[in-house]
Structures are given as structure tokens and as C-alpha cells.
Symmetry: C2
Subunit: 218 residues, 2 copies
Amino acid sequence: VRDAYTEQLDDMVALLRTMCQDVAVALEKATRALMRSDATLAQEVVDEDRSIDLKWHEAEERAFELLVLQAPIATDLRTIVSAIHTASDIERMGALTEHIAEAVLRRHPQPVLPEEVAGYFGEMGRVGVALARKAVDVIESRDAVKAAQLEADDDAMDDLHEHMSRQLMDRNWPHGVEAAVDATLLARFYERYADHAVSIARRIIYIVTGQMPGPLSV
Amino acid sequence: VRDAYTEQLDDMVALLRTMCQDVAVALEKATRALMRSDATLAQEVVDEDRSIDLKWHEAEERAFELLVLQAPIATDLRTIVSAIHTASDIERMGALTEHIAEAVLRRHPQPVLPEEVAGYFGEMGRVGVALARKAVDVIESRDAVKAAQLEADDDAMDDLHEHMSRQLMDRNWPHGVEAAVDATLLARFYERYADHAVSIARRIIYIVTGQMPGPLSV
């Protein structure tokens, strides 16, 4: 049987897994709302972000309790310190997703994006959701090899971002400054979301190998 | 005499103080580089960010050692967990400052910003640097009242951001899409920098009061 300590540790990891699953679903919804200018769905994303914030506090408290009660060392200590980082990363992923939904609400019933670039964002959404789902997977499996793949997967996001930027910087961009500003910020939100997913994966590598991951150059 | 443990804890806090001081200086330089299109100064900011990243790793390692060796509780444990967050916040402040410097390098010898909005960014720079300096101060003093002031000070940044956005959204914006995109991202970088300074201050409140700060709604 598992002792109380192991159980507590597993529960904390399970909570992170749920949180990460939540922000994957949230980004999928926010992207759908963005594509369809769906204010109801966007409002749902905004409302649901509160529960991610609550879970963030809970995760931090659990990490704190484990530190107080168990004085963990080695892998367990790395797991707990990483959990503190991961909970922050997921909280930011939730906040960034909320920003996407807020943009939909702000421009509704107009679409935020000109049709010409909407496709890039649909794709960024797919890549972002896939990264978050892989992060869920590695939080559970602690598979360092899979975790390392997220960094490569993130290149797809960077490529999309670059293509979109190029279109934006084209002197013949016909959609005006407001659309350009919106597209710029939205692309930044997707890109940062993906960076946080990669960050989570890097912490998994750290738990497994004991090597502190370097900062993301983003 | 201080025992080895207290000394180790104080050293970690002193390192955070230095790091925060470093990113205050970095933002001051990056803003100056932005105002004058000074590529040499901008390159200096980019180069110096490496040392902030190294210090970030060092701070994390020290926090980790303290957790392993001392099994701290109560205020000390809150200090160490907060140090982990604060070191991340400062690393992000450094990265955001680097992004500002990179924009200067990208457009050099052209200025990044049209003269019409440059003033807002000079002002955002001043507010950002002041927030970072106050964060340095509260890291050292643990003055929860002063720490609470940072949240109010951050309103100045939000106001500047809003004014700038309004000018950008003006249908008569004559500077084209590229300048609008640059201004949008730069404003976001300054705003996020300020948010991280506020985050640091909130952690100080947490250390002192034991109350976990809520997420910033940004």
C-alpha cells in the first residue's frame, strides 16, 4: 500500500495534470470562439479561468504542505519545486487563453481577425492544444524523451508565427492598423502559451535527470 | 553571530536583490537605447542578460540547498518558496528587456518608434525602472506596506498603455502597420515587466502575512 506521503505527492501531480488538461480544453474553446466570433463560447472561457486560478492556489498549498511535513529530498524535492513552477506555468496558460477570449468579446459581433490570417490562428490553436496535451501526458508519465520532443514541436508554433508576421509586415496589408494590432497580440498569446507548455516539459526532464533546465530564449 | 543557515538565507535574498537591481539597470539602458536608436547600448543589454540567467540558476540552486539541508518551516519556508518565484519573475523581466533591445537592433539605424509615441515609451521605461527599484527595496526591507504600493504604482503603466493604444487605434495613425506592430509588442513588454515587479512585491506580502497572493489579472 502507498503511504500517506506518496499519496499526497501523487495527488499533487494529479492536480497539475487536471489543471493542464483544463487549459488544453480552454485553448481549444478559445480558438473555436476566435474562428467563429462566438461570444458565448468566449465568455465560457473567461468564466472558467477562475477555476484554474483556484486550482493554482490549491497546488501551491499542497506543495507547501509537502515541504513542511515531509522535508523531502532528491527526486521528491525536485518534483515539488517543479510543481510550484508548473502550477505557475499553467496559470499563465489560462490567463493567455482568457486574453484570446477577451479579444473575441471586445470585437463581437465583428470577427477579430481578417479571413486572410484566420487560418494561421486555427493552426496555432491546434499546435498549442497538442503541446498542452503532451504536457499532460509527460506530467503523468515522466517520460523525459517525450518531454524533450515538446521543444521540437514548439518550432511549428514559431514557424506559424513567422509566416503570420511576414503577412502582417507586407506593405499591401489591406486590413488596417486595428486588425494588425489584434493579430500581433493574439499571435504573442499563442506563442507564450506554447512556451509555457515547453517549460513544463523541461521541468519533467529536470525531475528525471536532476539537470536544471536553462531559460527558454523567448 | 549569525549561524550558517541564516547566513545562507540572507545570501540568497541578497542575490535576488542584486538580480532585481540588474534588471532595473537593464530596462533603463534598453529604454535609452530605444529613445536614441543606440545599437551599441542595445547590444550591451542583450549581452548582459546572460548574467541574469546565470544568477537565476544560482538562486534556484541556493533555494534548493536550503530546502534540502534545513527543512525550513513557517516564514523561512515562505521566503524560500517566494525566492523561487521571484527569481523566475526577474528572469522574465530580463528577457522582456532583452526583447526591447532586440527591437532596437532589428530596426537600426531606423528608430523603432515614430516620434509621436516615443514619449509614452520613455515614460513607461521610467515607471518600469521605478517599480523594479521599489521591488529591490521591498526584497530587502520586507516592508509589506511599501510592497502594497507597487500595485497602485503599476496603474501608471496601465494608463500609459491605454493612452498609447488609443493613439494607435486612431484611424489617422499615419505611421503604417510595421510601426504599429512594433509599438504594440513593445508596450506589452513594458506592461509585463511591470506586472512581474508587482508579483515580486505580492510575494513579499505573502512572506510577511502568510496570505497567498491571488493571481494578477493580466
